[in-house]
């Protein structure tokens, strides 16, 4: 009854006698709206200036960019009433003949929170606003309007009509969310800043159109495009210093916008970022280099790849292999030139064939999966373990634990030990195998380019990288003048070789660390245990020779030890990397207040007739994170869940848990986010939209409450 009365009052109050709420200019229809139908003293509410803009024209954001002016609202309010600054929707970028503008087309709702005082008296609450805005297409027109809104004052706040509330809901949805990630920025020598938003564990291939809108003119230039990259340290955006003469601020504010590809479409997300100046962070690549790289032509890419390959020779895990090769070469000194040349060519062939094979794999995967990020093989703990073993065995060999030669057939090493061209060829293969894990972070940019190109270019760039890797040895073996520069063979060779074992061991340790990132601490036991077994096997094989029974026994034992070591790999394989998300530093899914999803728990809760909400999420899913912040974890929704007695289950799909994958498939979904809601007693769940709002969840909850009554 009270409500009805309030409604009546509103209808009366909304009459034109109280001043206009709509202003129609040549290019904009502007309307002042409130999200309440009646105002309660002391209780804040929202008003919005809604601009419906002539097609193709735009109004401006708080930072208008290189030209234009933001909309301004001047309020005339009753005594003691407070109006907060405008809360702006997420801006868009418009390139007006090369001049960059930040603003809005079609529609913009500028939200303002109004706080009436607790001692608000009278029967009506009058808001008056004078707004002015600049609206531009090619030409710009300043426009303005005067608005008046009168709302009844009541003991309880009454929400506005449903249609108006929907407008506010939509407006709130287009306001950027507070960034869930910390951000910092550093300044390069050139003076250009680089922003890092520490959103770790994102999938680069799922994100595009990243742009940072600086909150104000001055510190940062309005750029036509930004060359953001998504990497291990988060989102990195090289920016251009703006024209303000003052020093860069302690905190750089702005709005980060990006588009996330989800299984069911693309979602534009926006975050308010406040990045702290990090004096220790000196971005190495200036914007010029970054932008230049953007234009990287194939020829340049090939040159860089060649150079990159050359530098690979100095990496801690490649250098020993190469030095070993060189030392062997010195020993060969005096051999025929042709033999040496053959050796060098065979080594080069080994390197190139390995790179070609990698390129083929990359191209094939890309053809079938669509996109591939380099280092994909390192997501497999088995691969990491095997590489750690390989480093270890090469290290043992360098230390002199066993000798190359003879008929010893070890892990790949045996092949490289073969004399002549075959041996050289497999040294080349080995060099590539050990090079890859050491250099993934280092080569990321070149490979990024390679991977983003059509197949022939991808292969060309990878081959250039290989050629660079092989070049020093190739040149050495084919240039007699250089050969004469090599020192004479002597005891130094042994010492050098033994020394080189240490970088190899270090590389093995590093690979084990990588492994722990994938499997948790258990991986260490398997890896180190496996290494002991391998060392034991080598030791067994070294004792004596011949075909005695004891020898066969030792061989059998050695084989068993090696098998066991590799058994560890299998063990790792069947314990999938879910542990990584639980113990790894990149853990992102928060289970606070939620039960872990399992099919049994779900079936049980549904069977018990309880309402069930299931949230399938992943640490790298930005949309999931935003939904949590704006809809699932707000106090009102938490309270609503509690009131309705909802069983809240959360499924973590960060590592593509197979059980969840199968459920997603059953529902015809390729990925997360996915939200399911079972009303009490319902057999089938309701699939909620991918983008949630607080009101959407509350509506669902209230519908089951009503059903109960």
């Amino acid at each position: 009854m009270k409500r009805l009365l309030a409604l009546l009052l509103v209808l009366l109050a909304a009459g034109p006698a109280f001043g206009q709420t709509v202003v129609q200019t040549d290019n904009v229809r502007a309307e002042l709206l409130a999200d309440v139908a009646a105002v309660k003293p002391g209780e804040p509410f929202w008003v919005g200036l809604r601009q419906t803009i002539r097609p193709k024209w735009h109004t401006y954001w708080k930072n208008p960019g290189e030209s234009g002016l933001p909309t301004e609202i001047k309020w005339t309010l009753p005594e003691g009433v407070k109006a907060d600054p405008i809360v702006w929707p997420t801006p868009h970028l418009y390139d007006i003949g090369g001049v960059i503008n930040y603003g809005f087309q079609n529609e913009a709702m500028l939200l303002v929170r109004i706080t009436p005082p607790a001692n608000l008296a009278g029967s009506a609450f009058k808001l008056a606003a004078e707004a002015n805005w600049l609206v531009c297409e090619d030409v710009c027109i300043p426009e303005d309007g005067k608005f008046e809104l009168s709302l009844p004052i009541a003991a309880a706040a009454t929400p506005a009509a449903r249609a108006t509330r929907a407008i506010f809901d939509k407006a709130r949805q287009s306001v950027p969310t507070e960034s869930p990630w910390p951000a910092r920025y550093g300044v390069a020598k050139s003076g250009d800043p680089t922003l890092i938003v520490e959103a770790k564990g994102l999938k680069p291939e799922m994100i595009r159109d990243v742009y940072f809108f600086p909150a104000e003119w001055g510190p940062i230039a309005s750029m036509a495009g930004q060359t953001a990259s998504v990497g291990a340290d988060g989102i990195r955006i090289p920016l251009k210093r703006g024209d303000a003469k003052t020093a860069l601020p302690e905190r750089l504010a702005g709005t980060l916008v990006l588009t996330e590809k989800t299984a069911d479409g693309e979602i534009r997300q926006a975050f308010d970022v406040s990045a702290k100046l990090d004096p220790a962070f000196l971005p190495s690549s200036s914007l010029a280099a970054a932008e230049g790289n953007e234009q990287l032509s194939l020829v340049e890419a090939l040159l860089f790849a060649l150079l990159g390959g050359l530098i690979l020779n100095l990496m801690p895990c490649v250098f020993p292999v190469l030095a070993m090769k060189a030392a062997g070469f010195v020993a060969l000194a005096g051999h025929e030139r042709s033999a040496m040349r053959r050796d060098g060519l065979a080594y080069t062939a080994g390197v190139l064939v390995s790179f070609a094979a990698m390129a083929a794999v990359v191209v094939a995967i890309r053809a079938s999966v669509g996109e591939v990020s380099w280092g994909f093989q390192f997501q497999s703990p088995v691969f990491s373990l095997l590489i750690a073993y390989l480093f270890f065995v090469v290290g043992l060999n360098l230390s002199g634990m066993f000798e190359i030669g003879g008929r010893f057939a070890g892990v790949g090493q045996g092949l490289t030990a073969r004399g002549g061209a075959t041996g050289a060829f497999f040294t080349g293969v080995l060099a590539v195998i050990v090079a890859t894990p050491c250099t993934v972070p280092f080569m990321a940019a070149a490979l990024g380019f390679a991977l983003s190109q059509p197949a022939p270019q991808t292969i060309a760039v990878l081959l250039a990288l290989g050629l660079g890797l092989a070049l020093p040895y190739l040149v050495l073996t084919t240039t007699p003048a250089l050969q004469r520069l090599m020192p004479r063979p002597g005891p130094w060779m042994d010492r050098l070789r033994q020394f080189l074992a240490f970088p190899m061991y270090a590389s093995a340790v590093w690979m084990i660390w990588v492994l722990t990132q994938q499997t948790g601490a258990d991986g260490v036991i398997y890896a180190l245990g496996g290494m002991i077994l391998i060392a034991f096997a080598i030791w067994l094989l070294r004792i004596g020779s011949g075909a005695s029974l004891a020898m066969w026994l030792r061989r059998g034992l050695a084989a068993a030890a090696v098998l066991l070591a590799f058994g560890a790999a299998l063990k790792l394989e069947d314990s999938p990397a879910t542990a990584a998300s639980a113990s790894g530093p990149a853990a992102g899914v928060n289970f606070d207040g939620w039960e872990r999803y399992s099919r049994e728990r779900l079936n049980q809760a549904v069977a018990a007739g309880k309402p069930v909400f299931v949230d399938f999420t992943a640490a790298w899913c930005i949309t999931c994170l935003v939904n949590e912040r704006v809809a699932l974890e707000t106090p009102a929704v938490r309270h609503g869940f509690e009131q309705a007695g909802v069983v809240k289950l959360k499924g973590d799909w960060t590592n593509r848990d197979p059980e969840i994958t199968s459920l997603l498939k059953d529902l015809g979904r390729a990925g997360v986010p996915l939200y399911l809601f079972w009303a009490p007693g319902a057999e089938r769940p309701k699939i909620l939209p991918q983008v949630l709002t607080e009101s959407l969840i509350l509506t669902e909850l209230s519908s089951i409450q009503q059903a109960k009554r």
Partner: protein, 212 residues
């Protein structure tokens, strides 16, 4: 290690960074304290002006588009004309550059430019005709009016807005700090310009439409 980043642009190869020419938007503005970009242009009376010939004089450049509400704000309030006269009295060469591209808002023929000068009672040393927006581009102008001051040695010492209150409201002119006037006084007194780079405001400069 999983999911290695593929930053497409950060350059590999530590030291091997080669400064390739960046493909920047042309609105990159020249640096203060550096020689101002040179240009040669014909004015509305057919006279050729070259910045190189103006060494020894303080020069002001004003981009204009007479139909832009922000240009109109300063002309109908006589703010621009007054400052042009003050500058001329102090021996400053004030060049108004009509930089709207042919066919765009603000584009003027020589006759139209002279007619505007007459009707608005303007007093620049010259109105330069810049129908290909070459001067605007060289100076990275983004708006009209976008203002620049060049000192006697040909060094760019000011770039930015005409004043400190970005609005289309004439009433704001009196309240605003007139950056160009203050800057000119400082330059003529041999002092560094205190507010040497300010926020330009106005309509977007009407550059030639690209072929699209």
């Amino acid at each position: 290690m999983s999911n290695i980043a593929v930053p497409r642009r950060s350059l590999m190869l530590g030291g091997a960074v080669v400064a390739l020419m960046p493909a920047m938007s042309f609105a990159a503005s020249p640096d203060l304290g550096k020689p101002a970009p040179l240009f040669t242009a014909v004015d509305s009376n057919g006279k050729t002006w070259s910045l190189a010939d103006l060494k020894g004089k303080v020069v002001v450049i004003e981009t204009t588009n007479h139909d832009c509400p922000y240009v109109r704000k300063h002309y109908s309030a006589k703010n621009m004309q007054t400052q042009q006269r003050e500058a001329a009295a102090k021996g400053v060469v004030w060049l108004t550059s009509a930089s709207s591209a042919t066919g765009q808002e603000g584009y003027v023929t020589a006759q139209q430019a002279n007619e505007l000068t007459r009707s608005r009672d303007a007093a620049p040393a010259a109105v330069l005709l810049d129908p290909q927006s070459k001067i605007a581009r060289a100076y990275g102008a983004t708006v009209t009016p976008h203002m620049y001051i060049i000192d006697k040695t040909g060094t760019l010492v000011y770039k930015g807005g005409i004043d400190s209150i970005p609005s289309a409201d004439i009433a704001d002119i009196a309240k605003a700090k007139q950056y160009v006037r203050v800057g000119l006084d400082e330059v003529l007194a041999g002092k560094p310009v205190s507010d040497s780079s300010t926020r330009p405001y106005g309509c977007s400069l009407k550059y030639p439409r690209t072929s699209s």
